[in-house]
Amino acid sequence: MMRRRDALGNGNLERLMVVGAEPDETWPQNLLLRSQTAHAHAGSPDPAVLQPIGPFVAHLLSPVRLIQSRGAAPHVASRAVVSPLLLHHSPEVRNPPPPDLTASSIETGDRRPPSQMDPLKTQDSSKKSNKPKCSYRLPPPPPPNPFSFVYSKFTQQELPACKPLLTPAIVISAFLLVGVLFVPIGLASLSASQEIVELIDRYDTNCVPMADKVGFIQNSKTDKSCTRTLTVPKHMKSPIQIYYQIGDFYQNHRRYVKSRSDKQLRYKDAAHLTKDCEPEGYSADGAPIVPCGLIAWSLFNDTYTISVNKKAIEVNKKDIAWQSDKSKKFGSDVYPSNFQNGNLMGGAKLNESIPLSEQEDLIVWMRTAALPTFRKLYGRIETDIMANDQLTVVIQNNYNTYSFGGSKALVLSTTSWIGGKNNFIGIAYVIVGGLCLFLALVFVVLYMIKPRTLGDPSFLSWNRGTLDYPN
């Protein structure tokens, strides 16, 4: 590994290519050393001869040594290679070379980094003399090799980096920018929200004439119709959305939200997949209920008939559900069966001759709400309603919210780009924007009152003489 690193990392690449072979780490070191010795002794200093023993020698010998062996003193090179291993027990040492020379040849081995490998320089130095004076002097580390992964900026953790600091300029301008952007957006949303005309009529208490509300609602015999009259405060442009709003109804309850079978709703032959629908999976006679589950079972069943100035207007109940639900979630060949057949009546009944994909009230209802108070689309009025028009709504007040104290309301609302009437976003934007501007101002003032040089080393705790870090 280290050898390889040397070969690639030190930029010995060129030299390897001269010799023309891949570095072979498994090449027995000893054999090579011997053959190298033999060559040197045989007086064939031509580097071409080195080719067969190739890479290792190339690797072992720095250019310095190659040049030496090519030049005047081949024996120096040979001994240099041999001596490190045979020093301790070989008769070779009987006439030991001057110690510094031995040492220097050892030193010029693998260790010399490539910055010293400049062929011109080394040639010069080797021409000058055979006594390398620089034997122990180690050159500084060479520049990283750009071709090697190991020395990339990435591995050295030296990737160019941008280091933003929370300087007053950045922070103040950031807050200013946010403030400047937020206030107009907030005002725009607010005005959009304000332009929406919304009529809310809570009818759950008023539509029950008696004190025993639960008894009233649960009695299937009584007439539950209830007439409400509303005055439209402002001109309402079509389309006007009609919602029913239920309060304190936990459509997000775990027991409720899971009680459905999406497969059954989608596919005709999946009617038996009612595992999650308990306790509304099967009817009393054991047939699967379609659509099964608590959600479908508790389908909202109040109805509204609306007339404007005593003149009935049409409530469009088409396309109130998401198109995607109709086409992909509810099957056009799945028909309700065994629905609401049990002893316990839940909500609305379904027309068994209409496929589920057309039962838009059901589809809307089955998109469960995340919050306990929610609105669901009931229909649309596609004509404008003028200001001060009298709206008369005849409500079939069937749905039981009384047993759990929930509320029911009818909502008529126009729409805009922001959706329904919701002042929250507008107000929040204005407030947040205002706060940001205020903070920016505070920071500016603070900066003026108490300017502080960034990066004053005298603030460093160890320069300041306080015992504690600033807290």
Partner: protein
């Protein structure tokens, strides 16, 4: 006692005899941890022994109960299985590679000789008693007792670097009993080797060998480790060698010494574990509370909600259902990804260390290496460095400097090289007999086993006295044109207990027998013959060691022929004994080494390594206490301590010496040192000096007061330490709760290195033994500063962020779920769908956090300029309960912001479950991206790509998921992205979520900056590093004085953490 009897059990190996070959295991090596069949159960068992994994397994099993599972079980099983597969495949891959290398080793062809015929068999088929025939450069397949070589003198050379890391060749000898056998005879030899049961001591092999007829030599021949060829070594420079297999397979010495190192747990890991347990407790409390109120809600409200159709009477376990649902809902509080993320990050830290070019030692071509990838953070929290001296602080390149022979001091103060001293040259050329003898002594024992000897021989050869041949039994010396031959009779080896070694030689010319000894002064001088003046030598030793030189004393003595013979017999007996051979030999040697004529003292210089003083100064400025533990003499050690900035000679520092002649003296001086240290003004640099004997007594009698002293002392010099004592000192500091780093280079430091929290080995001239045992190996002491200040510090900072952020993001989503519970009748509904939950933890939030592994809070230059900044990480200021509370607070705040903005903006007709959940989730992702951005100090392109790429990926993934009709979130994302109000809501969430954090940060950074902020600002203000350079030097004196204050304050107020990230 039982242990002894067990260890002295023997095995009898019958050479070339089939009858016993199957009683021991074959030579099949197996390093694998698993087999194909037991991999799955064993690996599962290993993995699920960890608490975290058990926790997740329980959660995953609970998920299978659909009645309580809030989301699909896949949310837990998926990540759990992925994590399991990742760690299992890593294990499997490692094991497979081990299997492959084992297989290669096992199927290697080796030659064995059976009744005279050579056969080639697979290495795994070798059995105990076989004669294995090795050729040059062969790897030795099992532990062998050498019985013959191609060398007429019966020696062979082995390279043992695989075993002890030392690259120099070792000489092995054929035991005398088989020395004269021919190659043919060797193949047919029969006999028995009596050897101890397999152990892992590669320096000991106390056995006997007896050969049977036809070789008529019935005497038991003692065998030592020098007669063995150990598995996994290589035969070098020897044409062939053959040996008897004594230990095979996994019972060889190398097989027995393999073992898995125990895993070290970093301080940061321990803190993370603590925090995990705290979060777990918090989770249980939340679950119990929510479960309790959930049940109450169900009983009071739930039954009224007719559409829920709650049965009046539930099953008996009904009261458990809601708490268990919440348990599952809250299980994400403990992030499943934290372990994987941290392991990955640690792996990268380790790679950064391996790759670091500035820690690459060009002199020896050694890169820094982290063998233990798991403990990089500890480097940034080191409090004590315990350093070896020789080879660690010094170069371990010995140069002969001075000597004192027969009362004459050679080498004077001005001269650099003792060898150039004219006086000495003169003395040599005039054949001063004492001088000659002096020089002889060094040369004869030359084996280049020790650096000192090499220095002596080099010096001698420069004085025209050359060692020209040296083999097993004789040595030739060439001096002034004539050869001298000495016959080497016995070597009384060096042991650290005896602290000396001797040789018995016979002069080739005169036939006189001489004993030559060399060793430490206190080991040689007391053994001088009565009446000899040793005062002069004592002075010389004193003087040399004050100059920081290593001294050796030499002595000699004539031996009478009879005396030698008698002793020789005893020596032979002792070296044959199987029990306590070492102590018996020591005893015998002792009896011979007496009445020495002291010849002189040599002084050898061991130069300080490059950059050592600067490094030590830097480390001390960084608040790290540096202790020097050495086997050397006190004076030498103090001298080196002065040279390398460990102690200063100015009046500002004081050395407290703990010495004494008796136990009471020592204990009293310990007390005194303690009182002085406690009462002295803290700006004064106090250090205590202690030697091995004193330590022994102190540890025996008053360990507590020593521990107290150790805690006060920033510097200590401990000399004459045995390897065990070094480890004991580490253990004392560790037991006081400090994070210790042991650094050393030699085999004598291995115990210390292994004992310390972090072991650093210098791959030096004493071999790689220390480097192999260590967690980190570096080429030079000076690299320690980068290792600690750069890598350690960054690793700590990064781990602190990764771990806390992992909890932050899990808690964030968990808090949202809990808040939603209050709106869903405490029924345990999950706001988020299964896909989102799974992807959130594993994907959306794990990638951005990984970017922090490229983060640098302040540049490397700044850290090295202001090493004091390390005190931040040392004191654990970035990862502690307070910072963690800050993160929890931020998490809660962000959860509140996301949740309330979402439910307000998406109220009424928009409150569709899927939409609302996606709005909340995107709110989380937006905030996360900004949180990571805000906590990143430096942006490099991988960071920018990962943070914002992940952000883009979130939308891509969800848009793709929204296109799949069968999923719950079909078309949801299309709906949302088309609504202006969605984007407006996101912007609001980000500003409300991040605005206060930013404002708080800004105010803190501006008006109450931490040291890190300060340094960042220094870096930023243009060119200030240069500009303040001058100022720095002006502040230098102040700083050095105050550094101690800061560290002491750290020490006194460990609880004084600074919450860095609280809201």
């Amino acid at each position: 006692m039982e242990v002894t009897s067990w260890t002295t059990m023997k095995r009898f190996v019958y050479i070339n005899d089939d009858s016993c070959r199957y009683s021991y295991c074959g030579n099949r090596i197996s390093n694998t941890k698993y087999t194909f069949w037991n991999f799955l159960p064993k690996n599962l068992w290993e993995q699920f022994r960890r608490f975290m994994n058990q926790y997740f397994l329980i959660i995953a099993c609970l998920q299978l109960w659909s009645h309580i599972a809030p989301v699909s079980p896949a949310t837990t099983w998926g990540p759990l299985i992925i994590i399991f597969i990742v760690s299992a495949s890593k294990e499997a891959w490692d094991d497979y590679n081990r299997y492959l290398s084992d297989k290669k080793a096992n199927e290697r062809k080796v030659w064995v000789v059976k009744d005279g015929t050579h056969r080639q068999i697979k290495a795994q088929e070798i059995h105990v008693g076989d004669i294995v025939w090795l050729h040059e450069n062969d790897e030795i397949p099992c532990d062998l007792v050498l019985i013959g070589t191609s060398d007429p003198q019966g020696i062979c050379y082995v390279e043992m670097s695989n075993l002890d890391g030392e690259t120099d060749l070792k000489t092995r000898f054929v035991p005398s009993i088989s020395a004269n056998l021919s190659a043919d005879q060797l193949g047919k030899v029969k006999g028995v080797v009596e050897c101890p049961n397999p152990d892992n001591d590669i320096r000991r092999f106390d056995a006997n060998m007896r050969l049977f007829l036809p070789i008529i030599d019935n005497e038991a021949c003692p065998l030592t480790i020098n007669n063995t060829l150990l598995q996994s070594c290589y035969l070098r420079h020897t044409e062939w060698a053959c040996g008897v297999a004594v230990y095979t397979g996994n019972e060889t010495k190398s097989g027995m010494s393999r073992g898995t190192a125990e895993t070290k747990l970093t301080a940061a890991d321990a803190m993370i574990d603590k925090l995990t347990i705290a979060i777990f407790t918090f989770q249980i409390i939340v679950v119990l509370l929510l479960g309790y109120f959930g049940n109450i809600w169900k009983d009071t409200q739930g039954l009224k909600q007719w559409y829920l159709m709650y049965p009046m009477e539930g099953p008996w376990y009904d009261f458990l259902v809601i708490p268990l649902r919440f348990e599952l809902l809250c299980s994400i509080m403990i992030p499943i990804s934290i372990k994987v993320t941290l392991d990955l990050a640690k792996g990268v830290y380790a790679k950064f260390i391996d790759w670091d070019e500035q820690m690459f030692d060009w002199e020896t071509n050694t890169p820094a290496h982290s063998a233990n990838t798991a403990i990089s953070e500890d480097l940034g929290q080191v409090q004590y460095i315990l350093s070896d001296k020789t080879g660690t602080l010094t170069e371990n390149r010995m140069i002969f400097k001075r000597c004192c022979i027969s009362d004459t001091m050679y080498g004077n103060n001005n001269e650099d090289d003792g060898l150039k001293d004219a006086k000495l040259l003169h003395a040599v050329s005039s054949n001063d007999p004492d001088v000659i003898k002096f020089l002889n002594d060094g040369t004869v024992s030359y084996k280049a086993q020790s650096q000192d000897e090499e220095a002596l021989v080099n010096a001698a050869s420069n004085l025209n006295m050359m060692l020209i041949s040296k083999d097993n039994s004789s040595a030739g010396i060439y001096f002034n044109g004539s050869d001298f031959h000495y016959e080497l009779l016995d070597i009384l080896e060096f042991t650290s207990d005896r602290k000396r070694m001797s040789v018995v030689i016979k002069d080739g010319q005169t036939g006189k027998i001489l004993l030559l000894s060399k060793g430490a002064d206190e080991a040689i001088l007391p053994r001088a013959s009565a009446g000899q003046q040793i005062q002069r030598y004592l002075e010389a030793v004193e003087m040399y060691s004050q100059l920081g030189l290593r001294t050796l004393c030499l002595g000699w003595r004539d031996l009478e022929e009879d005396e030698y013979k008698e002793w020789s017999k005893k020596f032979r007996e002792a070296s044959c004994s199987l029990h306590n051979r070492e102590s018996k030999i020591a005893e015998v040697c002792h009896s011979l080494e007496r009445d020495l004529h002291i010849l002189g003292v040599t002084a050898i210089e061991d130069r300080l390594q490059d950059g050592v003083p600067e490094t030590i100064k830097l480390l001390r400025n960084a608040g790290i206490n540096v202790w020097m533990l050495t086997g050397d003499k006190q004076n030498t050690a103090i001298q080196i301590g002065l040279l390398c900035n460990l102690i200063t000679s100015e009046p500002s520092s004081q050395l407290l010496s703990i010495t004494g002649k008796t136990e009471e003296d020592i204990l009293r001086s310990l007390e005194r040192a303690f009182i002085i240290m406690k009462n002295t003004c803290e700006t004064k640099d106090l250090a205590f000096v202690l030697d091995g004997c004193a330590l022994e007594i102190i540890l025996k009698h008053s360990k507590e007061s020593f521990t107290r002293l150790a805690m006060l002392s920033r510097t200590a010099i401990c000399c004459r330490m045995t390897p065990l004592q070094k480890a004991q000192l580490v253990a004392i500091l560790k037991s006081a709760g400090y994070l210790t780093l042991g650094i050393g280079d030699g085999g004598n430091d291995v115990r210390m290195i292994q004992e310390a929290n972090i072991g650093v080995g210098i791959s030096g001239r004493e071999g790689l033994q220390a480097a192999r045992a260590a967690d980190y190996s570096i080429g030079k002491f000076k690299f320690l500063r980068r290792l600690i200040l750069i890598h350690g510090r960054y690793s700590y900072n990064r781990t602190a962020f990764i771990s806390q952020y992992s909890f932050y993001k899990s808690l964030n989503i968990c808090f949202i779920q809990i808040l939603f519970a209050f709106l869903s009748g405490l029924s345990g509904t999950s706001l988020f769908n299964s896909t989102s939950l799974m992807a959130y933890n594993v994907f959306y939030t794990s990638l951005p956090v990984m970017t922090i592994i490229f983060d640098k809070d302040i540049s490397e230059t700044t850290v090295l300029q202001h090493p004091q900044i390390l005190q931040h990480s040392q004191a654990g200021r970035l990862l502690n309960p307070i910072t963690f509370c800050g993160w929890i607070g931020r998490s809660l705040y962000h959860a509140l912001v996301i949740f309330f903005i979402t439910i307000c903006a998406y109220a009424d007709e928009k409150s569709e479950m899927q939409e609302l959940s996606m709005v909340a989730l995107s709110g989380c992702i937006w905030i996360q991206a900004f949180v990571v951005t805000m906590d990143t100090n430096s942006f490099t392109y991988p960071q920018i790509i990962l943070i914002w790429g992940n952000f883009v990926a979130f939308y891509m993934i969800n848009l793709i998921l929204s296109a799949i009709p069968s999923l719950q979130m079909y078309t949801i994302m299309f709906h949302l992205c088309g609504q202006p109000s969605y984007w407006i809501t996101m912007a609001l969430t980000v500003v409300v979520g991040m605005g206060p954090v930013m404002a708080f940060r800004y105010l803190r950074d501006m008006y109450r900056p931490s040291a890190i902020n300060m340094l960042q600002q220094i870096e930023q203000s243009n060119g200030s590093i240069q500009a303040f350079g001058g100022m720095d030097s002006a502040l230098e004196s102040v700083r050095t004085n105050l550094t101690d204050l800061v560290t002491d304050s750290r020490r006194n107020s460990d609880s004084n953490y600074q919450p860095l990230l609280s809201d």
